[in-house]
């Protein structure tokens, strides 16, 4: 992997050149009304971007799986129905200052989007995007990326990762796309710089690690075997079923498909974000609902993230970003809940082992 030293000015120039070439650049930007809050947004100038200020409120999945998107448009005519396809190729976009957990989430979701049938709308945007992450420095007590096999210095899903270093950054160029973006920019990093950037990474890890010990692989099997465990009856008592957790989650990707008229003769078929936490998600036309209670719906969320996805795709459907915990109006704290399930699984295996 190539490592370069890039000054702040060089980064500003690079972003300026991209904007001048009309490439969409997305970066963390302060909310105008509440400057403590940061959101990923398309920027018009480098000065709008704020790196290392706060965890953006929403993950960046909306730039790959929009909150609502057109799948096709239709026109009803006397001769029949006319369908217009949507392009699956997306215009290029570069994301600067992505959190490593958000970049990793995209890589995780790639697997289901490519499961036998390739979702070209998702991959059209993935292939048109270059993701530059910043080594995470904004972690708080709710983060648990290190417990799900990631970390503030993990470059999974990154094309390049920037690590702060004396007036600039050490750029780790992870993919060819990352190499290309930084072509002709910066100077080769020295041994001292590389060693310093590795120390920065270790220090960042040390800040997250105490929050939750690594989730053992055995949890997946325990969850599978304990679908009817009494713990599910009480675990979700504080869940309102509002689905805010899923909206902010970098890996939740469930969606609905609906038709919307734009006039009497025309309209669009759309894909909209949806969530397994809502009461109508699985209701049959007959009224029968396989997941009728909130505890069943919350069990689905935990099972999907920590058992179903790992057994299908070999990794957890969670990046440990902690957004679900921060947003929950009922105070459901995922690291605490998962930690309790892990202890429960361990204590039961000890009992049965005796």
């Amino acid at each position: 992997m190539t490592r370069k030293f890039i000054t702040q000015q060089e980064l500003a120039l690079l972003v300026g050149n991209l904007l001048a070439a009309h490439t969409r650049v997305i970066a963390p930007v302060r909310d105008e009304e509440d400057p403590r809050q940061v959101d990923y947004k398309p920027i018009e100038s480098f000065s709008q971007a704020v790196f290392g200020a706060a965890i953006p409120r929403r993950s960046m999945k909306e730039f790959f799986l929009p909150i609502t998107e057109v799948l096709l448009s239709y026109k009803l005519t006397h001769e029949g129905v006319k369908i217009t396809e949507v392009p699956t190729q997306a215009p290029p976009q570069v994301i600067f200052g992505a959190l490593p957990c958000d970049a990793a989430g995209l890589k995780t979701v790639d697997k289901v989007m490519n499961w036998d049938y390739r979702d070209e709308l998702w991959f059209g945007r993935r292939e048109a995007s270059t993701i530059v992450t910043f080594l995470c420095s904004v972690m708080d007590h709710t983060c648990f990326c290190t417990a799900v096999g990631l970390g503030p210095e993990d470059s999974k899903g990154s094309d390049a990762m920037l690590i702060p270093y004396e007036g600039g950054y050490i750029a780790q160029l992870v993919t060819e796309r990352g190499e290309k973006l930084f072509e002709g920019v910066g100077t080769a990093a020295t041994e001292i710089m590389i060693s310093a950037s590795e120390d920065t990474g270790k220090a960042a890890r040390a800040k997250v690690e105490p929050n939750l010990p690594a989730i053992p692989g055995e949890l997946s099997e325990w969850l599978k075997q304990n679908f009817n465990h009494p713990v599910w009856k009480t675990i979700a008592l504080r869940c309102h079923g509002c689905s805010a957790c899923a909206a902010l989650c970098p890996t939740c990707h469930c969606f609905d498909i609906t038709d919307e008229h734009t006039s009497a003769e025309a309209g669009t078929r759309r894909r909209n974000w949806d969530s397994c936490q809502t009461s109508t998600f699985t209701v049959h036309a007959s009224g029968h609902n396989p997941r009728a209670s909130q505890s069943e719906r919350f069990r689905q969320r935990i099972q999907h993230k920590f058992s179903v996805y790992p057994s299908r795709f070999g990794e957890m459907l969670c990046t440990g970003c902690g957004r679900c915990s921060r947003v929950c109006p009922g105070g459901m704290d995922l690291p605490t809940i998962v930690g309790e399930l892990v202890s429960l699984a361990k204590s039961e295996s000890e009992v049965s082992g005796q």
Binding site: G80, D116, Y117, D274
Partner: protein
């Protein structure tokens, strides 16, 4: 073409099965798709009315009959109500075929008992015609079909056809109270009808579909007859949107109805979390 893009199909024929259940015979508007379109018994599709949305049903016609597909639906929700408002010549969208299928190859050379209740005959009918179109490759064929009342029996014209065939043993039943003075079939619920009609599980596969309560009480009857769990096949329906394993809605624990199903054996169903 992206994976959510439907084919356009024209309604060639409409048949009313009961007061609320209707069958469409559909043909591809683009004949070249019609020529290459292939599916297997038990697979499903996403049918749509533009402006109303998509709905999931099995393909009710057999793969042995090409050039068209059929679907049967009951006007229940938004899309099925909109489908009901359509006329011959109108256009619907179709994506598919999706999911797994009944193991016809495995069943060849054996006897089959088909058991269906109500509109549950739709997916079973697809297999029945598939088998009857290749009749000499199978041993005994028994069909046990029932509904709440005589008026609720679907595919009546085909029931007559099956009754007239020497190579099919047909048993029709309606629930007590659902019979008419002219009714010549049994007055019994499905589990009883199975008990009275089927004498042995030897060398036989069972294909069963109907309301959950019917399946619940029929499975023990089949087990008593010594049908092993892996020779009883059924098909599940859960709410779906994509049909492609992406939208995250139809899974029962680790099992995706759209990808691992919709066809399951009784043994597979028993191993699933009881959340369907």
């Amino acid at each position: 073409m992206n994976i959510y893009q439907p084919h356009l199909m024209r309604i060639r024929e409409i048949t009313d099965e009961t007061v609320d259940t209707r069958t469409f015979k559909l043909e591809f508007q683009d004949p070249s798709i019609g020529q290459t379109f292939a599916f297997q018994a038990g697979q499903f599709g996403e049918y749509s009315v533009f402006g109303e949305g998509e709905s999931t049903f099995c393909i009710a016609s057999p793969p042995t009959r090409s050039g068209y597909i059929e679907c049967s639906f009951k006007a229940t929700g938004k899309v099925t109500s909109a489908l009901r408002r359509l006329a011959v010549g109108d256009t619907v969208g179709f994506r598919g075929p999706y999911g797994n299928h009944f193991p016809l190859e495995k069943m060849k050379g054996h006897s089959i008992v088909f058991i269906a209740g109500g509109i549950g005959l739709a997916p079973v009918r697809c297999v029945i015609w598939n088998v009857l179109d290749l009749r000499d490759q199978f041993k005994d064929v028994t069909i046990i079909y029932g509904a709440r009342t005589v008026a609720d029996l679907v595919y009546k014209r085909e029931l007559d056809e099956w009754a007239a065939r020497q190579d099919v043993k047909l048993c029709l039943a309606v629930d007590p109270g659902g019979e008419t003075p002219e009714w010549k079939g049994m007055v019994a619920r499905i589990p009883t009808a199975v008990e009275k009609t089927v004498s042995s599980a030897e060398d036989t596969f069972a294909v069963i579909c109907g309301p959950p309560v019917m399946i619940k009480f029929t499975l023990p009857v089949l087990e008593k007859l010594n049908f092993p769990g892996d020779r009883i096949y059924t098909t599940l329906e859960n709410r779906m949107k994509c049909g492609l394993g992406k939208c995250g809605r139809c899974n029962i624990g680790p099992t995706y109805v759209c990808k691992d199903g919709p066809v399951f054996t009784a043994a597979e169903l028993r191993a699933l979390p009881q959340e369907f």
